[in-house]
């Protein structure tokens, strides 16, 4: 981080930034005077962009300038003795959802990014500089810059129904750069601030509920939504009059600064390194800002935030993150190629073929989300009972954790039944199979059940490696078959690959998409090609990793070769997670389909027999590579360097994804990236895969072009 001198913000010429933002949806700052019970006058600033709650208040350059000018005027009025206090609140349900990302994501230079940071600091600070006490009434959603508005106030109240208070910046590849990184730890303590600014964004962008924000000390008082503003004004009057004293137990004291602060930063750094590696820049930038917030002035802290934010906003990772964010926020909700929802067939009863773990997980998900009868079946009553026991056990767990009510538990238990008689499927509209992954088995199971069900009932298969079209080939009505590929664990992973065969009709496809949405999953439509999207990409990656091992590269070298990706786990960790046998099978099927591009690995079968690759301690923590595993793979004679492996994988992925797009497996590179983000946890900073492959030059090397025009990269 560069060593910076605080800037006098008032001297900066922001005109270029303002011109760039001419089309911004401005959140206006309206002022009305409120006469408090004591007779004092409070100038109440309402932030409102004039749209309804579906378009939250956001903070772009024009908004910030208007806000700053409003505060300047209030400062004059305060000096003239016209007002005794200033407060800020939002339009109904929303304070502000933070910086206008469409603007931040479009800045054309680092200089402009720097100004974006400086303008925020300059204007938001004014709330605390009017010369009279300042308040923020957090009446609803407050994210990022929305929280930073309030941190500039002397006092804060929060509506108990505010849905979320959070700093999502790190999730998006940036840092809280309008004061949050300096002010928050100095308000709520370093450990709490680390959680709010770094840990929560990395936990699927977790947010704080109102009472959590209150307990952390972000807000000084919490009031019921029925009369939040009235109570806040009364409270403010009490603070002004001295009848209410604000206590802030979490404000760091001397001991915290001397002892705890650096230790907490050290622990956080270690946790980060082990959890996400060191590729992602924003968590470490945030960590460094939080470390430095221990001492020095606010002005110095703000100057550090300016530089850090400018670096990140101008960088590759933020652009890729915004790209990824748009995919999961927008494209995932309007899947490419999805037929009209209106032609979807109603699903009023679900049949699940199989009662094993996967099938039971399906049954549980379907019954919880669709709230319709779900019947499971298997070869014998013993297996059916085992499946039912599992499902009922899970329902009991949900009940004991308070996640569902007793009524809901009774309802779900009554909706779920088991049978060995497939005639019980007669009135099911949706039948999904999760039986052994072998073509003839799945063909027979579907052919058997087709005798009992109606002609229009949808048959869904969860196959991950077989041809859906072939599974349907023995049916009288193959047009009602669709692939419906979940990812493990079923309840957690948000992706379903919906496989559209040449026979699948539109109504069936639509039913699959609508059903996936009701299951609260994101569905991506793929063609019926081997491995669909996620498994094909992972098979490419894992095949290359095993190939490197097979040819004599040490595990250690292979294991770190792809570190620049910043993937959530290494290839071998992933193999152990999915199971070595499954991994070997996946490589085999892809090699069979594309023998010249995908490697199979005899060694992986042997490792699967042996059972492990890593040597782990009692807690499952990796200590090193298992000695027997190392011995099993020994013998290769042409080892590669890490750089060679990285290059092979990057080029291999660029090639494979390019081929998939040429072959129209999915309609666009965006869909590949969406699948990898949602189905394999590939990081936002890579943008999934294709922005990364473009920016490292793999696309150019392999097919002489890029996936994206222009490339998804940072600015100078």
């Amino acid at each position: 981080m560069t060593n910076t001198v605080p800037t006098t913000y008032a001297d900066i010429d922001f005109s270029e930034l303002l011109a760039f933002s001419a089309d911004e949806v401005v959140t206006h700052s309206y002022v009305r005077d409120v006469k408090l019970a004591s007779g004092k006058t409070l100038a109440l600033v309402t932030l409102d962009n004039g749209r309804d709650h579906t378009r939250p208040n956001t903070l772009g350059p024009l908004t910030l300038v208007e806000y700053g000018e409003t505060m300047d005027a209030l400062k004059n009025r305060a000096a003239a003795g016209e007002i005794d206090a200033v407060a800020v609140t939002g339009k109904p349900f929303i304070l502000a959802a933070g910086a206008d990302l469409s603007k931040v994501g479009d800045v054309s230079s680092r200089a402009m990014a720097l100004q974006m940071a400086q303008l925020g600091h300059y204007t938001l600070s004014k709330l605390g500089e009017t010369g009279v006490p300042s308040f923020a009434f957090i009446n609803g959603l407050a994210l990022g810059g929305g929280v930073e508005i309030t941190l500039a106030a002397d006092y804060r109240t929060i509506d108990a129904s505010a849905p979320a208070v959070a700093f999502p910046e790190v999730f998006l590849g940036i840092i809280p750069g309008w004061g949050g990184a300096y002010l928050l730890p100095n308000l709520i303590g370093i450990e709490n601030a680390l959680n709010v600014i770094i840990s929560n964004p990395l936990k699927n962008n977790r947010t704080l509920k109102a009472n959590e924000a209150f307990e952390l000390g972000i807000a000084d008082a919490i009031f019921s939504p029925a009369n939040f503003l009235e109570e806040s004004l009364l409270w403010a009057d009490g603070v002004l009059g001295g009848s209410i004293t604000v206590k802030r137990p979490n404000v760091p004291g001397k001991i915290e600064r001397m002892v705890k602060w650096d230790a907490a930063i050290g622990i956080a750094r270690k946790t980060l390194e082990s959890r996400i590696g060191t590729v992602a820049k924003s968590p470490y930038a945030a960590l460094e800002l939080l470390r430095a917030a221990k001492s020095g002035t606010k002005e110095e802290g703000f100057a550090r935030e300016d530089e850090a934010l400018a670096d990140l906003v101008a960088g590759d990772q933020f652009r890729a993150s915004i790209y990824a964010f748009d995919l999961v926020q927008k494209r995932a909700k309007r899947p490419a190629g999805a037929p009209d929802k209106k032609i979807a067939k109603p699903v009023t009863k679900v049949g699940v073929i199989g009662a094993g773990l996967m099938a039971s997980q399906f049954a549980l998900l379907f019954v919880r989300r669709l709230q319709v009868p779900v019947v499971i079946t298997d070869l014998d009553q013993g297996r059916v009972d085992k499946g039912l026991d599992y499902i009922r056990g899970e329902i009991a767990t949900l009940l004991s954790k308070g996640r569902i009510s007793p009524d809901e538990s009774n309802k779900l238990n009554a909706l779920i039944t088991g049978t060995t008689n497939k005639a019980d499927f007669a009135d099911a509209d949706w039948v999904i199979e999760a039986v052994f992954e072998e073509l003839s088995v799945k063909q027979d199971v579907f052919a058997d059940v087709e005798q009992y069900i109606s002609e229009t009932a949808v048959l869904a298969t969860n196959t991950s490696s077989l041809s859906v079209e072939q599974i349907a080939s023995k049916l009288k009505h193959p047009e009602r078959v669709v692939g419906f590929h979940f990812f493990n664990p079923v309840a957690v992973m948000p992706l379903i690959e919906v496989v559209n065969t040449p026979q699948t009709d539109e109504a069936t496809l639509s039913t699959a998409m609508v059903t996936a949405a009701k299951l609260r999953k994101n569905a991506v439509i793929t063609r019926d090609t081997p491995g669909f999207v996620v498994n094909r990409i992972l098979a490419k990656l894992l095949g290359e990793a095993m190939h490197a091992v097979d040819t004599g590269t040490p595990f250690e070298v292979v294991n770190t070769a792809l570190a620049p990706f910043g993937l959530p786990m290494t290839s071998f960790e992933l193999l152990e997670l999915v199971g070595l046998k499954v991994g070997a099978h996946v490589l085999d099927t892809h090699h069979a389909a594309f023998p010249d591009r995908f490697f199979e690995s005899e060694n992986l079968h042997k490792l699967a027999e042996h059972g492990k690759i890593f040597d782990r301690d009692a807690k499952g923590k990796i200590k090193g590579f298992d000695k027997t595993a190392v011995a099993i793979v020994a013998g290769g004679t042409t080892p590669m360097t890490g750089e060679q492996i990285l290059r092979r994988v990057e080029d291999g992925l660029a090639d494979e994804i390019h081929r998939m797009l040429e072959d129209d497996v999915v309609h666009a590179a965006e869909d590949i990236d969406l699948c990898l983000i949602l189905g394999a946890g590939w990081p936002f900073q890579m943008g999934g895969a294709t922005p990364y492959l473009d920016r490292v030059g793999a696309s150019e090397r392999v097919f002489g072009d890029t996936f994206h025009h222009p490339r998804v990269t940072g600015v100078a």
Partner: protein, 379 residues
Amino acid sequence: MYWQTRADDLVVKAMLGLLERNPNVPKDRIDEVAIAATTQTGDQGLTIGRTAALLAGLPKSVPGFAIDRMCAGAMTAVTTTGSGIAFGAYDLVIAGGVEHMGHHPMGAGADPNPRFVSERLVDAEALNMGNTAERIHDRFPQLTKERSDHYALRSQQKVAAAYAAGKIQPDLIPVATRSENGWGLATIDEAPRPETTMEGLATLRTPFRPHGRVTAGNSSGLNDGATAALLASGDVAKELGLAPKMTMVSFAFAGVEPEIMGIGPVPSTEKALNKAGLSITDIGLFELNEAFAVQVLSFLDHFGIDDDDPRVNEYGGAIAIGHPLASSGVRLMNQLAAQFAEHPEVQYGLTAMCVGLGQGGTVIWENPNYDRKAKRARR
């Protein structure tokens, strides 16, 4: 001022303010929430007593219902639940009313039965309240426009004086209001026009008939408002340490010709006095709803009370403050209660109001602060 405030939110805020002022009341002991609204649709629909109870965060075990007697809605909420207390079915209730006349103009959505007209059951003029007021002027020629205007002026002056003396404010709940220009806080009534003069009143249009007598100046306005009151049995009030402000003595409702509905309080008051075994001379304070000045004057004339009698509407009334139909009954009671505290020499008071379609309602109250010595001292 309340254009962007929901009617149910208004009454919920009133209830919350009521409970805040009475912290000794265990919320789970509340046996009923009766909320009146004339137009029971939209934000005043869906059994507003129950929805308001839920929105106010009362325990789900607390029941509630909606009630309607047009202008006397809140009054009827009080008399109905008060009767329940007397019968022993309730210990503790919340009774109140709300009318957002901005969202629900008078008579909106109503579909009067054609028989009213075809069988001449009700004169067509009866559905227009201003016309019914003109009809009182017709019937009682001694009730001149000048008397009405004078009464209206006094109402404005009395409200202004009561505000200046801080007598109204203790019963108000501040309400955050949203506008095009952001949030504000409503802390006082919007309707009063303290600058009113006789000369100004004389120039106002008579919208209900050419050269008529009823004007916007000598009528109550079309307003938005909500009220809530707590009623308890004597035993429970004692148990919970609640200090009663008034004790209900008797009540009565009575019907009159719909086309001259404003005289309704006359028979209802006679009935209520009769039930209480009291005469009009026993009543030391009057809170009469001022739907129209002439309608109040008809009451005063009937009982031989002077237009400027200080016992009547000491803090002014609906002509200045406004009359958000179903909420007004409890406002009368609030003001009477405040006056009871100031007048220990008074033993009995009454609240009365006229009701559209020809009714009147009267409740007679006893002053718990009554002190014989004070009474003698006054004499």
